[in-house]
């Protein structure tokens, strides 16, 4: 899923200061799952903002709505009337959702309520971890299902650097050394020969370094 985190209340408040009628728009898929932008977070943020502005002697009228996915036009449509009733939309979606809304509603002021952090998983309650960098050329078969592009702090493809100690990364003891995990898993799978193979320099063209990416599905073009 796409993992995101709500911006600090003070930052959101500052963005909303020029407006009196604001739509707080949640997104019911990824960011709901990571407790950043679903119905519950929309309601809590709305209450917190009203209270914060009241303390400043200012009233703000908030409308609350959550659609299934802000990145899909079919769901975005459901927010059209609410959008037209408000001066600004505080979107609790990932960056893709915010932009899809901006594309759909040319005259609406779109404000991001979240910081989109990464593509990842819920590793255990309360802990989300980054698992995929979207490099556009998946080689997880070589690395035993653990991605060094995402999970090694230096994106090393040919084994651990000299900073790997007791299974931890030199950057932080909170970060597991991806290469320790890869070595352990390939050994367990009986695929340690993969470790001996020289991995050539990666072609980054399918990644973001090739410029903004598009995917054309000819079979779906109408």
């Amino acid at each position: 899923m796409i993992v995101a985190k709500q911006k600090p209340l003070a930052e959101i408040k500052e963005m909303l200061r020029p407006f009196e009628k604001v739509l707080i728009l949640g997104c019911g898929t990824c960011v709901k799952t990571c407790f950043a932008g679903g119905e519950d977070e929309v309601a809590m943020l709305g209450a917190a903002l009203r209270l914060a502005f009241r303390q400043d002697g200012k009233t703000i009228r908030t409308e609350e709505l959550t659609v299934e996915r802000q990145c899909e036009d079919a769901f975005i449509q459901e927010s059209a009337q609410a959008v037209s009733r408000n001066e600004a939309i505080l979107s609790l979606a990932c960056g893709a959702g915010v932009q899809a809304m901006a594309r759909r509603f040319a005259r609406a002021v779109l404000l991001p309520g979240l910081n989109t952090t990464f593509m990842g998983v819920l590793e255990k309650p309360g802990l989300f971890t980054e698992e995929c960098a979207g490099c556009g050329d998946c080689e997880l078969d070589t690395f035993g299902g653990i991605c060094p592009v995402t999970r090694c702090s230096k994106r090393l493809l040919n084994g651990p650097c000299g900073g790997s100690k007791n299974g931890k990364c030199e950057v932080s003891p909170d970060i597991e050394c991806a290469w320790q995990l890869i070595i352990d898993r390939l050994t367990l799978l009986g695929q340690s020969d993969n470790l001996k193979r020289y991995i050539p320099a990666k072609d980054w063209r399918p990644s973001l370094s090739g410029g903004p990416r598009r995917l054309v599905r000819e079979d779906h073009v109408i």
Partner: protein, 309 residues
């Protein structure tokens, strides 16, 4: 200094001599006299001097520029190059430029992560890793081609080095990685500082068993400790460092000048020990802002005659 010749470090190692290199860090500023002074101190007592590339991710004078200052005063440099700050385009370009200016030795590294350095806000590059860099330099040298396969007008005939850390984990993989570096094209290896001799011996044993010591010149890293604080700091804070408690305890028994002497004693004992390990072909002294002690250490170790016979 004549700069169109071969690497003297290569000549020493290929001639069977026990090589000595030392590290020197460029200044955090534009004052050339700092690097020249360090070079003058090291001149004559080592085969070549490594010039670090923004080591520990702290911004300093560029390695290439500092190498030229050394060449200017007659000291052969080993240019260190990390893949953290430059992509393959910049790396290859700088390698060609370095060779054209007389640099003959290159140490290929991935580099300490920028979050540990002086400007942690920086974006890193890591377009390629240190093995890819070794491979690229080898192809540039031996096949005269850049990474795109383009035939170069003049190949950079670098003597190619890389680092290895026998003390990093997992131990079982360290020799596999060394073998990969050799396959990629590395000529010499400079190791992380040796304090844990049993572990270093075990790593060397594994390297010999795989026949790797016949294919690459291994130089053991030596850093004389100056104080208990330095030992404790390095053990706790420096990435990839392994200082056994007994070494820290030896340092703890002394303070001030006596501690410096004890650090030198430990270094001399380590040099003697690594010299007797089959496959160790030299030492690499990383004195860390104490370059003035290197001549004394080299002399006391009986390695003053440069080049070695």
């Amino acid at each position: 200094m004549k700069t169109d010749g071969q690497s003297k470090l290569k000549r020493t190692l290929s001639g069977g001599g026990f090589a000595v290199t030392a590290e020197c860090g460029p200044p955090r500023g534009a004052d050339a006299s700092v690097i020249r002074k360090k070079g003058e101190t090291l001149k004559g007592c080592v085969d070549a001097v490594n010039v670090t590339d923004n080591q520990t991710a702290v911004v300093r004078m560029s390695s290439l520029a500092a190498c030229l200052h050394l060449i200017d005063i007659g000291v052969e440099p080993v240019m260190q190059m990390v893949t953290r700050d430059r992509n393959r385009i910049a790396l290859q370009s700088d390698i060609m430029g370095a060779y054209s200016l007389g640099i003959r030795n290159l140490l290929c590294l991935s580099g300490d992560h920028q979050s540990l350095g002086s400007q942690p806000e920086a974006m890193n590059v890591f377009d390629i890793d240190s093995l890819n860099l070794v491979h690229a330099v080898r192809v540039m040298r031996d096949e005269g081609k850049d990474m795109s396969g383009f035939s170069l007008i003049g190949a950079p005939e670098m003597f190619i080095g890389a680092a290895e850390n026998p003390f990093a984990d997992p131990l079982s993989y360290r020799v596999v990685r060394l073998a990969k570096k050799i396959d990629a094209g590395v000529d010499f290896i400079q190791t992380q500082c040796v304090y844990n001799l049993p572990r270093f011996k075990e790593w060397m044993r594994q390297a010999r068993e795989e026949g790797l010591t016949e294919k690459v010149y291994i130089m053991a890293g030596i850093t004389p400790l100056k104080s208990t604080r330095m030992a404790q700091f390095m053990a706790a804070k420096v990435a990839g460092m392994d200082i056994p408690q007994e070494v820290i305890d030896r340092m703890s028994a002394f303070t001030g000048q006596r501690a410096i002497e004890e650090g030198m004693n430990i270094a001399l004992e380590t040099i003697a020990a690594v010299k007797s390990i089959p496959g160790v072909r030299g030492i690499h002294i990383m004195a860390i802002e104490a370059e003035e002690r290197v001549p004394e250490l080299v002399k006391a170790a009986g390695l003053s005659q440069r080049p070695a016979k």
